[in-house]
Symmetry: C2
Subunit: 555 residues, 2 copies
Amino acid sequence: MSSDRLIYLPLGGAGEIGMNAYVYGYGKQGQERLILVDLGVTFSDMETTPGVDLIFPDMTWLMENKERLEAIFITHGHEDHIGAIGQFWEKLGAPVYARAFTANLARHKMRDNGQPEEAIRTVSAWPEVTEAGPFKVGFLPMSHSIPESAALVIDSPDGRVIHTGDFKLDETPIVGEPFDPELWASVSKSGVKALVCDSTNVFSRHEGRSEASVGPEIEKLVAAAPQMVVATTFASNVARVKTLAEAGERAGRSICLMGRAMRRMIEAAIETGVLTDFPKVVSPEDAGNIPRENLMLLATGSQGERRAASAQLARGKHNGITLKDGDMFLFSSKTIPGNEKGVIRIINQFSERGVDVVDDSSGLYHVSGHANRPDLERLQDIVNPQMVIPMHGEHRHLREHAKLSESKGRQSIVAVNGTMLDLSGNEPKVTEFVETGRTYLDGSVKIGALDGVVRDRIRMALNGHVIVNVILDEDDEPLGEPWVELMGLPEQGSSFAPLVDVLEEDLNQFLGRAGQKTLADDDKLEEGLRRVARNSARDEIGKKPEATVIISRLS
Amino acid sequence: MSSDRLIYLPLGGAGEIGMNAYVYGYGKQGQERLILVDLGVTFSDMETTPGVDLIFPDMTWLMENKERLEAIFITHGHEDHIGAIGQFWEKLGAPVYARAFTANLARHKMRDNGQPEEAIRTVSAWPEVTEAGPFKVGFLPMSHSIPESAALVIDSPDGRVIHTGDFKLDETPIVGEPFDPELWASVSKSGVKALVCDSTNVFSRHEGRSEASVGPEIEKLVAAAPQMVVATTFASNVARVKTLAEAGERAGRSICLMGRAMRRMIEAAIETGVLTDFPKVVSPEDAGNIPRENLMLLATGSQGERRAASAQLARGKHNGITLKDGDMFLFSSKTIPGNEKGVIRIINQFSERGVDVVDDSSGLYHVSGHANRPDLERLQDIVNPQMVIPMHGEHRHLREHAKLSESKGRQSIVAVNGTMLDLSGNEPKVTEFVETGRTYLDGSVKIGALDGVVRDRIRMALNGHVIVNVILDEDDEPLGEPWVELMGLPEQGSSFAPLVDVLEEDLNQFLGRAGQKTLADDDKLEEGLRRVARNSARDEIGKKPEATVIISRLS
């Protein structure tokens, strides 16, 4: 028996939806040659990560082992699979392989971050394979909600692994290759050791619906609309954008793409040949001259993002266009958990303008890009793998997916980020835990999730911030009275005097009482001033603010 | 024709879901005698109102007209109808009328805020009526997700108005009076001028389901559970709590109420006689000694609230009880938009413990407390009002409800908070706009939504906070170098030197270049220092922090 082993290590995406990053390795323990599958981001929110621009997986482990990294493979172009490539490529330094459309998007990421576009190498679909150390990796076409999504066929001396990436089983996907069960069966025929599989929709019990099913419904809706029509969807869902545009065209409407991401995606799809017959579009400038009943806008911002085209239209004007009574706005999308309030906000803003909003509550105008439970079962039946490793999902998804797989008589295991599995034997075994976590892009700086920066911001947001300033002379005697500044705090509280005055008075009294030992000791003095300021605020306004104390000594 | 008129003025709840407060008036213009219906709160969130404890409608208009206020009527005990009574009663000073269960809850609110409980007067249901100036007001029993909910029959010299409060048409509500179509028809027979009607579920197209429909499903689920069962729902949904408890009892389980709100509501329901046969409960202390397969916990926290019993159980231990592999947790509730992330968080925490979570995605274990679209139509048919005024809903709900009413041939209008309607004629007419808004309870202080306090908190959370401290001597010369403190900002940026050092160096250079005129002028100096600090930070870390500048002069 060889002492080489095949390992799997999720660094992101296992235990969460977002920021996918999966490592595979083969070789002697601790010396495995490695490949990385996907390098994505996730998005911040006000509740847990205020002010943060993007969230990356903590790639420290892989950066420390970069000399063992042979290659990076990107399954598809969604931000949670590709978004961190420009930020981390320099620290990893391996060639990046992707299919043409994905590679086009990846090159933009590299350029935006001052990285060499040549590092991105375009590969063709299976049966072409790329050698990467002990691995041979092929891109097996798979349907999803973005063109040219691919599963990876990862061959190692220990057998074949199929890493699905994100997928659905769509045999009529409008854009991109349909799911081809015969191709998948033929690839699997020689035996698949492990199916590492998308878990997003494991709780959806009905069979997934094809992208082709929404076209006729959208067409009916648009044909019946009396005035302007605006539709939003994910810009990367090129098939949907095409379906929407064609519905508009058939209804005799000019099509206008609103929002940078929407234009960028359609350009990339046309440049790389995945999109060949998109209706002619008019510029936002020209759109203003077209009668509203002959116009259809396709706008970014399906998640209610404040700066996207949809939110701007909801607030008033975008590119000179204003919606009004009788116009229709269509969400051809679902709302991602956490974005509900933003979406509802723009629906109500449209309502105030008399715009009729059609959302997906009817189920007619959107289909998911992920495999539902029966689809997951079907894929397992086709691939017939020895083991199923659930990936891309929160803990509840991974657990449910593992239970599903075990109920079908397959080995399975819940492996969250940082759990290294040894896949060499007949069942997956946990072999090591690697420290993982999140890295924040904050402005232009990467900060660790545990650095305390974001914690302090949240505290200021919840409690307000009081700044205490004291000057001491050469003899450690207070020079003048303490000075207080407030931010994010009410101007007055229970005593109806300005809060600043109340705090300054209490701090002054504290200084008057403080002994020479306290006055001479920065730490003691700071602690005392902080305590007085916070307690005084609590008595006055019922909350204890964050406090910053500045002691200036003239010595 | 009389110069008296009948007016309707929503101060909260019209244009939002939450913080209901509706004024009715009758009399000469500007001298109408007034009644207030409901006085509720809404809840804060991190995105728009960080640190805020509760949100009230801005009651300034009514406080300014308090001498015209005859009475306050509370339709039911939900926080968004009753929650502000203790906070505003003193400023309004009118007697408060409610049915027994609601009055019990209202007295607690008064006591908690040091207000006289006697101000709350218990009234019986229709046909009893209370005179309040020109009005006679009766409480017409109506089913909802809390006991003793009532619509108000408001008689004025100008005719009868029915204000529904929140409701559903449930003829088998488990606890409290069923909807009685004959009683409603008899009350409406003599003619109803206006139906002022709950709009929450106007987009739900199927007929509403009865509370009685969930019992058998919950019973099956609990009977089949092998280990401990925990269920959560809104504590105020006494019928649901009873259904859950009875399902546990029938499965041979001891029932334990977890969380203060849950115990409080059941107590109030028993005290006031609305709940007569609730299963015997064990204390949390005793629950620990009961075999887990014989125990069922009913816990607060269906919305994922961090401090509620459910979240504490998800994180580990609560009252000495820990959930484990094989236990079941049931959400007998729906997730209110905006709370998804909190709910998902605890589902994943339970998943990590091996607890099987059952949510409402099947539709079997929860029914809404609000009337769906067909129910709204049915009530209109029974009441046959001259006009329908949609209330309690976001703009989209009010608009849809008005369209629905108009499609049935009735006068209707969208009147959001602050819109005073004259209902005297044959159709509702907008007669005035009153300034309204939101008041925040922040700690123990009430602050206006536009005071800037919360805006500053949000800015600190998004941008961090830099404090600049400069001391100038008697000749306006800098004494020593400027001093910088950071909060919520990274320690270093692009130059890999501490950010504090970089800022202090730039500020020092600025001071060195600054002329006497700038140094002598606090405003100019502050503005310059702020600009330098923010720009220097932008160059270094890619974001412009909030800045507080403290200039101390020794003169």
